[in-house]
Structure formats: structure tokens, C-alpha cells
Point group: C2
Chain length 327, copies 2
DNA sequence: TTGTACGCGTTATCAC
DNA sequence: GTGATAACGCGTACAA
């Protein structure tokens, strides 16, 4: 791994001149430049990003913190982000938190230490103190998938998504409903609002289950036992697919006995039987916009208010919510 | 982002002393140490990894180059690798090549420039010149999933996997066979060997199709039309699932009309209908071993011959190859 | 046009 | 025990 200094002594000029030649800088005698360039090529010179970072105070690194890279949704998002980042000369440091808040904290520490130019993250929590922590990190950040209010965010409205699902369920004539997901998920709020607008008696016909552990299994079992015409909304496709399998075990058929909808619209929903109704997030666009916005913050003038970029959620109806399964 | 020098002036000692105090180094007067530590804590000091890297010639960075992070197999592998790496204080720079050789080259350049301590990669090709390039990169590398002979590798034998599939198909009484995959895939060689041992007339009853484009669609269509009792072996689960969908469109039933096996044993195979027979690679173990071996190379004495760590492939029989679909 | 010299934030090797 | 001081590889103001 040859350095500028070595090239300098090899070509008999100063390291400064090598630097200038290599960077195509203004004034350096053509013959010298050629000699330097040739020498560099010959020895396969590669600039040392570490050294450049130290002096330039710029790493061209983006920290990417996702909840679970094993979830195809996040994997596809990471793919989109990596693609966009590379277009702009940035590289990705990947962290998968496994929804573990402590690990996430550690990851952020590490990211700070590496002085990544920016941070893209999928928040595990919307708590104010989490937001504050991000702000305190002073490093340019963009939240993806969740609207973090005081932070730059790229997302689809989970509330609207929930409402879409509610309308969809109601349009199909369902009469009791179960939401499976986290406690502070806007999808539930929107779902509830939609059901309420549709005249559903929330107290009587709406149920909630945490996605943790297998509480939801009991909830599902009870629901299908007691409630014909029930509909289940799972907070993501992975969860929905688990529900689908549970329903198969219970020998209730989807969508005849119970309807099911997921969220994310990953390709998983296309390969199950029945196929899975899900709310699509425009993954590639989210990745692109997140990187765009982040780079803008990094390279741009500076502060300005947080930009919250809201994209359209789109319900994709498939076999799990149709009267007639058409595969 | 406070620096050692700043802490030094704040506490009225030299930067060198701050360094010693912060690193818990031997000799520094307790009271001084306390003052420094307090000051550091108060200002939330974070060591600058970039500076440390420059002087220490060690980045604690591992470059991870996978073929497609959107493929759940690689995503899960990345997850395992990240987990193991963090245990050893290393962080991951992620690159997804999309099976694009040119992009892979670029990624490797970038990795060199960042001076990552090591490299873990899933090779797109086994060509000798690829190997040579890796060796030339002088950076400690480990190949995962593919045995690269002259390079440290962690893998399951694709040939043995192919043979297992062949035996499995033969045991179920199949009589004609199609392999879908790349041209230099050991899975095909093993598959062929297994079929041959089983007395199959390769010329007559064996077919090959590239996985590129949709050539394979024609191959599949022709096969099921002309050959009752056919069996298809796809080079990975993603491909197998595409085949499964194509078969549904063709209205041939699996496994009654045609058997199907994949490779990787991702969770995808559990959610399709029928479920998918696949050859399991021990993902977590592969990730663990790859990181272990890499760190060993990085921190270890030095060279030594390449260690090729061969793990057991295990065929997991599911619905797509059973006479009786048991879901 | 080119070289010298300095600084980026550390670690490490010296003297004191 | 502590403070100068020299690296590490590079960019760059300044002087020549």
C-alpha cells in the first residue's frame, strides 16, 4: 500500500506535489504530473481514506441502523440505501439492533466514534428522549419509516395505512377486528379511527394484542373461535405470515373464515398461500429520499427545520382478504 | 465532540497525560486521573476512531461484500456476521454487489481505501483471476458459502448438496431432472454425479437451464409438458420459489406432477405452499466461523496456509418433494 | 510551479 | 508521574 510520501521519493518530488498531481490540482508541470501518475498507477496507489478523513473532517461514511436486517423489508431498504449512497460516493456502516434498545445505544456510540458523516436509522421507539438523544448526537440524521416529528424523516403515514386497512376490512363486511403490534404504533390509531368512522363498536368488536412473545397466538385463537367474520391486521408482513401459519394450524381458512392483512408489502406476501394483502411502502423511493436528504444535510448550508417527507401508502389487496381467493 | 487536547487544556495537564488517563494507563496520579475522567465524562468524550486508526494502523472495520443483501439468505448471513463481529469489537461496512462484477471491483477498491482490517465476501465467481485479485489485495479475507481453494473459506460442499438432492429425488422415484443455476455451480456437478450413480441416463433424462433472464421458464414448461415424474433442482430458494410460482401458473401441482428442491433453506421455504424442500446451510455457524477465522488472521501471528472450513449440508425434506403433501 | 511546514487526534517513545 | 515530541498519511497555506 504505497503512500504519497513514497511516490514522492520515488519520483523525486515533494509529497505536496504528489498530492497536487494526484488530485488533478491546478498547477503542476505536465511532465511531473505524468511521472507521478504513472508511478501511482504502477504501484496501484490508493488514497488512504482514513488519513483523508482525519484532515478533511469528512469520512464519506453513513451509519445505517436498522431494527433487523433479517427482515426482508429492512434488507431491501438497506439495499436501496446502499445503492443511493454509493452513487454519491458514500459507504455504509451497517448495524442491526434486533430491536434491542441497549444495542442501539452502543451502535450509536460506535457510529459517533467513527465520525460517520451522517446517520440513517429506523427508530425502534418514538419516545421523546430517543429523539433528544438523536439531536444531541449532533450528527446529521434521517429517520426512515417513522415520522419523528422534530427529526428529518422519510415515511408513509402509518395512521393512514391503518385507516386504509380498516376501510378495506369494512368494505368486505367484517365485523370484528384484531390488531397485532406494538403499543405505540400509529397503525393501530389509524386502524381504530377507520373502524370508528365505519360505525364499529370499538369496545365490543375491537381487540388488541402485543406482537411480543406469543401472546398474539392466544388472541388469534380466541378471535377465530368466538368471532365469525373477523379480520386481523398485523403490524408487518413477517408477523402476518406467522399469523397465517398459526391459522393453518388452527385449520381456519383465509380469507373465508378470517381475513388477514400485513404491512410492508414485501415479496413475502406474494409467495404465501393465500397471497397476503399488505400496505406497500415505496421502499426504493424511501431509501433514495433518505439518502438524498441526508447528503443534503451533510453537504448543504447547514441547519434549517426538519423536513418530514411523507409518501403515499398503498394498500395491495391480495388473497388473504378477498372473498374469492384468486391465489 | 471534545478532543484530548481540549480536555488537556481544560484540566491543565498535557494531552499525553489525558491519553494515559483515558486509557487507564499505568502511571498517572489518581487525582489527576479522576479530574481528567470527570471532565471527559462531563463533555461526553468519544475517542476518535479515525485518529486511532491512522496511528494504530487498525480500523476495527470489516468489509462485507455480499451478492445481494435483498436475498434473505445473505441478509441472515449478514446479521450473523454483524453479531459476531461486534462481539469482537469490529464493525461492518456493507456492500451489496447485485452479482455485478464491475461493482464488486469498485467495492473492493473502496474497502482498500478505508483500510478495513479484513474482508468477508460471498464470491460471485470462482475464477482463478478473481482469487488472484483477492490475494493481491493483501488484506485478510475469508470467503463464505464458496470454497475458494487457495483462500480461507467457510462453506458447505455444494457438490455434496447436489448429490444429496439427487439421491433424494431418486429415492422418490423420479426419472427426469432439471437443474437451474449458474454454469460453474458445483451443485450441478454433484447433482449429476448423484444421478449418474443412480443409473440415470444423463444424456436423455437430464436437463440444464441457466438462471439468467427467464430461459428457465421455457425449460420448466417443456419439462413438465414432456416428462411425467420430473424433478427440478434450483440453485437457491429464491429461484425455487419463482419456479414454484411458474408451476402454479402452468397449473401443474407440486409435488404430485413435479418435485422441486431449493438451496439455502431460508425461512421462505417454510411459508410457501407446498413448503419447499431445500438444502440447509448453517447460516449462523457460517457467519460465526467466518468472523472467527478472519479475526484470527487479522490479529494472529500472520500467514499460514488457507484454512478451508467445510460444514455439513443437510437436506430438509418438505412438501415440495413428498408424495403426500403434508404442508 | 514547487517545496516547506503545519495540523487533523491519537499513540508511543523519549527525557525529565 | 508527567510533559515534550515524533509519527501515521494526507491537504493546504505560505513562501520561494
Amino acid at each position: 500500500m504505497i503512500t504519497m510520501t513514497e511516490i514522492a521519493s520515488l519520483t523525486g518530488v515533494s509529497q505536496a506535489t504528489v498530492s497536487r498531481a494526484l488530485n488533478g490540482s491546478a498547477s503542476v508541470r505536465p511532465e511531473i504530473a505524468k511521472k507521478v501518475l504513472d508511478c501511482a498507477r504502477e504501484h496501484n496507489y490508493q488514497p488512504n481514506f482514513i488519513a483523508q478523513s482525519l484532515v478533511g473532517n469528512k469520512t464519506y461514511l453513513i451509519g445505517l441502523v436498522v431494527s433487523d436486517i433479517g427482515n426482508p423489508f429492512f434488507a431491501e431498504l438497506a439495499k436501496a440505501i446502499e445503492r443511493e449512497a454509493r452513487k454519491r460516493k458514500y459507504s455504509i456502516m451497517l448495524f442491526s439492533t434486533d430491536y434491542n434498545v441497549a444495542k442501539e445505544e452502543e451502535d450509536l456510540e460506535i457510529i459517533r466514534r467513527y465520525k460517520t458523516d451522517g446517520l440513517i436509522f429506523t427508530p425502534a421507539s418514538k419516545d421523546d428522549d430517543v429523539v433528544d438523544k438523536r439531536l444531541k448526537y449532533e450528527i446529521p440524521s434521517v429517520s426512515v419509516t417513522i415520522d419523528m416529528r422534530r427529526l428529518d424523516s422519510v415515511f408513509v403515514s402509518h395512521a393512514e395505512a391503518g385507516e386504509q386497512v380498516a376501510r378495506h376490512f369494512l368494505g368486505l363486511g367484517h365485523e370484528s377486528f384484531l390488531f397485532i403490534g406494538g403499543k405505540d404504533d400509529d397503525k393501530e390509531l389509524g386502524f381504530l379511527a377507520g373502524l370508528d368512522k365505519g360505525g364499529v363498536d370499538i369496545e365490543r368488536d375491537y381487540f388488541y394484542s402485543s406482537e411480543k412473545g406469543s401472546h398474539w397466538r392466544n388472541a388469534v385463537a380466541e378471535l377465530v373461535k368466538a368471532r365469525p367474520g373477523a379480520a386481523i391486521f398485523a403490524h408487518n408482513d413477517l408477523q402476518a405470515i406467522q399469523v397465517l401459519e398459526a391459522l393453518k394450524e388452527l385449520e381456519v381458512s383465509v380469507p373465508q373464515d378470517v381475513a388477514l392483512a400485513g404491512f410492508d408489502n414485501t415479496f413475502l406476501g406474494k409467495i404465501t398461500t393465500p397471497t397476503l394483502t399488505s400496505v406497500a411502502q415505496p421502499i426504493d423511493e424511501m431509501g433514495r429520499l433518505a439518502v438524498e436528504r441526508l447528503v443534503e444535510k451533510i453537504e448543504g448550508s447547514g441547519e434549517g427545520p426538519a423536513i418530514r417527507c411523507k409518501l403515499e401508502a398503498r394498500l395491495v389487496a391480495r388473497g388473504s382478504t378477498l372473498q374469492m381467493a384468486r391465489i
